[in-house]
């Protein structure tokens, strides 16, 4: 029965090859060919698609928006979820209730959630402007629109990341914390020198997935801002969608896809390299 493991792995492998690897190779091929409106490859053009892409103003905007979004989103999201997880990591039914409320957003469909957020942030009839008592033009001011995307991103990612942090914090042995407390460590010191190193593997995992999600963000853009105002929220994947699917420019769309992949991959490689040197696994 030496073939058993291969049989077991076959369904998963089939799916991955069919829906990830083959499309990836085709995308790469498309990106170095000129492709017709109906998706046929017309001829090999080498790096010409990339050269045009890098000269494209719209692409410059997408690139800088995606990087800006990642830089704003990842620290904000991790700070807020980690804070929530630390604060609700205690015994008692109130803490349990809090935990339930914190990961409840996970149970709402992304699109419906975004539609609700869109209503809430509507400048003239939305509840947010009424509550804060200001007339913030969420969809007309480029900075506010970017902030809105970050808020929506945190809201969407909150439940899952919170769950992971909570689970990791619970796994920190209680007797270690007690020892620390007896030795006179305060709450912050316990967190900084005991809990943080012990949850570091989870932290790295969350940073990695957050960067990936941020670099690939598209659904909130599509539903909330459609890239506006003035392309200030047009991200790389959203531009890929516009050029590739809305305009039928498969060659350019594929080139964007490859660029996004390389950027994300590079970011993750650097991070994983750092992780190997700095993180302690139990």
């Amino acid at each position: 029965m030496t073939c058993k493991p291969y049989i077991m792995i076959f369904p998963a492998l089939l799916l991955v090859v069919l829906f990830s690897y083959i499309p990836f190779i085709l995308t790469f091929f498309n990106s170095i060919h000129s492709v017709s409106l109906s998706g046929e490859r017309l001829g090999f053009v080498g790096l010409a698609n990339y050269r045009r892409l890098f000269g494209n103003q719209s692409f410059h905007a997408s690139l800088s928006n995606t990087i800006r979004f990642t830089l704003f989103f990842v620290p904000t999201n991790i700070t807020i979820t980690l804070l929530a997880a630390v604060l609700s990591n205690r015994k008692g039914w109130l803490a349990n209730l809090n935990q339930i409320f914190f990961f409840l957003p996970m149970a709402v469909g992304m699109s419906s959630m975004l539609m609700i957020i869109k209503m809430m942030f509507n400048p003239s009839i939305g509840i947010i402007n009424r509550l804060v008592g200001a007339n913030i033009q969420w969809f007309n001011d480029p900075n506010a629109a970017m902030a809105l995307l970050v808020i929506a991103g945190v809201f969407l990612g909150f439940g899952f990341d919170f769950l992971l942090f909570s689970a990791a914090l619970r796994n920190v042995p209680n007797d270690l914390k007690e020892v620390a407390r007896i030795n006179g460590a305060n709450g912050f010191q316990i967190f900084r020198h005991l809990e943080l190193p012990l949850i570091a593997p989870t932290l790295v995992f969350i940073i990695v997935t957050n960067i990936k999600n941020a670099m690939l963000i598209s659904a909130p853009v599509l539903i909330l801002t459609e890239g506006g105002p003035f392309r200030s929220t047009q991200t790389l994947v959203y531009q890929m969608y516009l050029d590739g699917f809305k305009s039928g420019n498969y060659a350019l769309g594929s080139a964007i896809a490859i660029v996004v992949f390389l950027l994300t991959f590079a970011a993750l490689l650097i991070l994983l390299h750092l992780e190997r040197r700095r993180i302690y696994y139990q």
Partner: protein
């Protein structure tokens, strides 16, 4: 275990029986499907139109029309495109209602049945369709689709604010807009603007008119805005229309009464933050209901760029496209299209939605005149169009999203980064030319 596997296979094979298999051949009716984007008031009017057809002409000729709401016009296109690309024509609807952005994706499709083909036995019927609406969907002298929900752009203004500022007439030209907007603007004691004269960042929709109507008629791109071939370059930088427009627009901005809003303009207008906006005639009912009785809404012709800009406005909105799905329904499609664009049905559609009638006979109906008398605002749109050059048409360009943002960002950049109109015009032209050339790369062999 073996029995379970066999059972599972049987269940899987039997499942498709639960899904509709299409119409049975024995039914005496020819069924045609119509994908449409009409919701709200227009959705109700669509239902009404179909019921009326199925009761009368449809019953007589044994035709049934089934309407399927498919989301916004853009969503209808998104759902249609993969079927056209898959070359499997059986899944095509007989009819799909789309807007101008669909032309480029569909006009070369082998499954498209043009209106000229449908009308080959009754070509005279086409003369009943308003010329400008026919032109709006004509490519290389071929009417691609049947005009149905036609609209134009209009100026909406806050009559109460105008009266308070002592202004009796809506602006005729952009120079007027600048003077009037400056008078309308209000600030609080800290100098912040609380009420804007006008809100807009011109993009494709506005510029088709503001560039197109200069000197009677000007094309934005070669190949007559893309109506006689795929455009290869823009013309607005060479013929100076863009510079002319941008100079006027800069003057409005310099009065400090222009808000660069791109989103929720209806809301800003209805909540009394801005005195003038530009929007489609089809927004009339919506805006009126949003405003309620807070103030009186006025509508007027789209302001002209200058006194020489006499071309008027182009027709926007949408048309109904017919497809060959192998069922040989052409005759039934044609009967329904004739019904939907008949004088009486277009009147009902006009009253329910605000889209103006595409049938010339509607304008002579006593009921139409009576309705106009009661609702003078509705008349502005059709009057504006009747006085326009029917050759003034929208642009059909690839990468329409990118071009939309190229216009907007280019104009904002001029206003905020103090570019000259010449620099801005050149930069916008350069960017858009890039997208037009991109399209030709996709066609070159």
């Amino acid at each position: 275990m073996k029995r379970f596997v066999i059972l599972a296979v049987i269940v899987l094979l039997a499942l498709p029986m639960l899904f509709a298999q299409g119409q049975k051949a024995s039914s005496p009716y020819t069924t045609i499907t119509w994908w449409h984007p009409n919701s709200g008031l227009a959705g109700a009017a669509t239902e009404e139109l179909i019921n009326s057809f199925n009761r009368t002409v449809g019953e007589e000729l044994k035709i049934r029309v089934e309407a399927v709401y498919q989301g916004k016009a853009n969503d209808v296109l998104t759902k249609l495109k993969p079927i056209l690309q898959s070359k499997d024509q059986r899944d095509l609807p007989d009819l799909a209602q789309l807007d101008g952005s669909a032309v480029l994706d569909i006009r070369d499709s082998a499954q498209l049945i043009t209106v000229n083909e449908l009308a080959k036995n009754e070509p005279d019927y086409l003369s009943k369709i308003v010329e400008a609406t026919r032109n709006s969907i004509t490519y290389k002298n071929n009417i691609l689709a049947m005009p149905f929900n036609a609209s134009t752009i209009l100026l909406y203004y806050n009559k109460d604010a105008f009266a308070k500022a002592g202004i009796s007439e809506p602006p005729r030209t952009l120079d007027n807009v600048a003077t009037i907007a400056a008078k309308l603007k209000q600030t609080d004691d800290k100098g912040r603007t609380t009420f804007w004269g006008i809100a807009n960042v011109p993009t494709t929709y506005e510029l088709m008119v503001w560039l197109g109507h200069q000197n009677g008629l000007t094309y934005l791109t070669d190949f007559e805005n893309g109506h006689t071939g795929a455009p290869t370059r823009v013309l607005f930088d060479e013929n100076g229309t863009m510079v002319n427009f941008l100079t006027k627009w800069q003057a409005i901005y310099d009065t400090g009464s222009l808000a660069n809003l791109t989103s929720d303009l209806n809301g800003a207008f209805a909540s009394g933050q801005v005195a003038m906006i530009l929007a489609s005639t089809s927004n009339l009912s919506t805006i009126a209901s949003m405003v309620g009785d807070r103030f009186e809404v006025g509508v007027a012709n789209m302001p002209m760029v200058d006194e020489n800009a006499t071309g008027g406005v182009n027709v926007g909105g949408g048309a109904i496209w017919a497809f060959d799905n192998g069922k040989n329904n052409q005759w039934a499609i044609w009967e329904f299209l004739k019904f939907a664009t008949s004088a009486e049905e277009q009147l009902k559609w006009h009253i329910a939605t605000g889209y103006f009638p595409v049938n010339v006979d509607t304008y002579d109906l006593p009921a139409f005149k009576a309705h106009l008398q009661e609702n003078p605002l509705f008349g502005v749109a059709s009057c504006q169009l009747m006085n326009s050059n029917p050759k003034l048409q929208g642009i059909w360009v690839p990468s329409s999203y990118q071009i939309y943002y190229a216009f907007q960002s280019g104009i904002l950049k001029m206003l905020e980064e103090k570019q000259t109109p010449q620099e801005a015009s050149k930069a916008i032209a350069q960017e858009i030319n890039g997208y037009l050339q991109e399209y030709h790369l996709m066609r070159a062999r």
